[in-house]
Amino acid sequence: MSEYKDNLITKSDLNAAVWRSIVIQGTFNYERYQGSGWCAMIAPILEKIHSDNKNELRERLKDNSGFFNTQLIMANFLLGLVISLYEKKADRKLINGLRISLFGPLAGIGDSIFWFTLMPIMAGICSSLATKGNIIGPIIYFLVYIGVFALRFFAIRVGYYTGSKSIEKLGAKTGELSTAASILGCTVLGGLIATLVSFQTKATITITDSVSLSIQEAFFDQIIPNFLPVVITILMYVMLKKKVSPTFLILLLLIGSLTLSYFGMV
């Protein structure tokens, strides 16, 4: 904690940045994503550091107003890191390069943990209470995510101190941690496809007048349970890779479902 003593940026500057991080997506748009929001997070800090030199400040603000997109806890971590480097008067290009090269992997790590793992777990636990009409479910959900927000205060500090130590190490570790997060993310993703995508056909093949065979049970379930959800997910993936727009695919799924439902096949 002694680090704060001689430093320009105080504990309360960091906390204020976290509060500003609430609106990091306030002007989210397809040109910059969180770029303009990130700028709002860092701007007052830069103003304090470069209070004596407006030109320098302008350059730095420009550096921090381009495309940016990462997971929100990680954004705070990255902010702490960047601040500590500014204070250390690290090379301007290095700082910006680091920021740009890190937000992607950090998004991967953060999304794996918070969107793909924590959220379905919370959904599972709390919904099982809620769907019994029990209001404790939503309450626990609410409290946990207040805790998650509080993590931002922690993340910005971790970033700040990590930056004070060695950066080279960090680079190497980011690679490994990113792999670890991808492993976690993909495992959960595989599980989510099996649990959250639901699709079954009701189609049957008539063998004799009285006997008919359910295609779902007699064929798809024989291959592997959840076969159709996997196939549909792969199909969507392939189409996305072929640059089919998600908007079109949503309509496709919607109209497809309605049509199949009309013919009694789902």
Binding site: V23, L129, F142, I146, A194, V197, I232
Partner: protein
């Protein structure tokens, strides 16, 4: 039961609050499980609100905005689902299905808004040029609030202004259409996951997808936690015992693929 003006106003206010949160993903009271429960409280039927909220939450757990994607809207899904279940004689399950088209409609509105906000980048760049730090912060607050207002209007229209139209439409909706919406709701996450895959998928991660799929298919659990624990174990094993990577290029590689979304 029809919705009173006061109720409609409260619902819209709540839509405003959760819409803002949906925009900035800060406190997660924009998730259906919370939205529906509060709607239930406003309409005097918290139990049905919580039930619809739980069902919608489960259906929407896979529809994440990760990577900047826009999924069917969770706020509107939670709002309309709870409204249907608490005011009509519609079962919670059917209510979830009926809310889907509304939530898709809002999704498109958000996409339009993300496009519209692009034009805001000109004044923003001028503020940067002028070193107007306060202005830079303020513009983001305004962006958030405007999004909230959009939700307010949407909610007021859907729950009050055209509530009779909607009610009549629902009364006449045939069974196959109802069922079709439910099926669509069930299959929609496939797109969400496919979008994730375009970001995360590399051949070398295929094994983990398979393992997760098999675990979820053959283990009998109540939430995804055990699958996450398995993923965690493999990740840690690889971290501590696996081949060390050269690192740097990996970072770049992954970074780039992520930027592209």
């Amino acid at each position: 039961m029809s919705i009173t003006l006061l109720q409609a106003f409260l619902l819209s206010l709540w839509a405003f609050l959760s819409g803002c949160d949906r925009m900035v993903e800060a406190f997660f009271w924009f998730r259906p499980i919370i939205v529906s429960t509060v709607v239930g409280i406003i309409l005097g039927d918290p139990v049905n609100g919580a039930i619809v909220g739980g069902l919608t939450e489960l259906a929407f757990a896979g529809l994440t905005p990760a990577g900047g994607a826009v999924p069917p809207d969770p706020v509107v899904a939670g709002l309309m689902g709870a409204v249907f279940a608490c005011t009509g004689k519609i079962s919670p399950t059917a209510a979830v299905g009926l809310a889907l088209p509304f939530s898709i409609l809002m999704q498109y509105i958000i996409v339009l808004m993300y496009m519209a906000y692009t034009f805001w980048m000109r004044p923003f760049d001028r503020k940067v040029e002028a070193c107007d730090v306060k202005g830079i912060v303020r513009i983001n607050i305004w962006g958030t609030l405007i999004a909230g207002v959009a939700y307010f209007i949407f909610a007021f229209l859907a729950t009050y202004v055209i509530q009779d139209v909607i009610q009549k439409a629902i009364d006449r909706i045939p069974a196959w259409l109802m069922n079709g919406f439910e099926v669509a709701g069930g299959v929609m996450p496939a797109l969400g996951f496919a979008m994730l895959l375009t970001v995360m998928y590399k051949t070398r991660y295929l094994p983990f997808l398979i393992v997760g799929f098999l675990a979820a298919t053959y283990l009998n659990f109540t939430n995804i936690l055990p699958v996450a624990l398995i993923g965690c174990s493999i990740a840690m094993y690889n971290y501590f015992f696996g081949r060390k990577e050269t690192g740097d290029n990996t970072v770049m590689e992954e970074g780039e693929s992520n930027v592209g979304i």
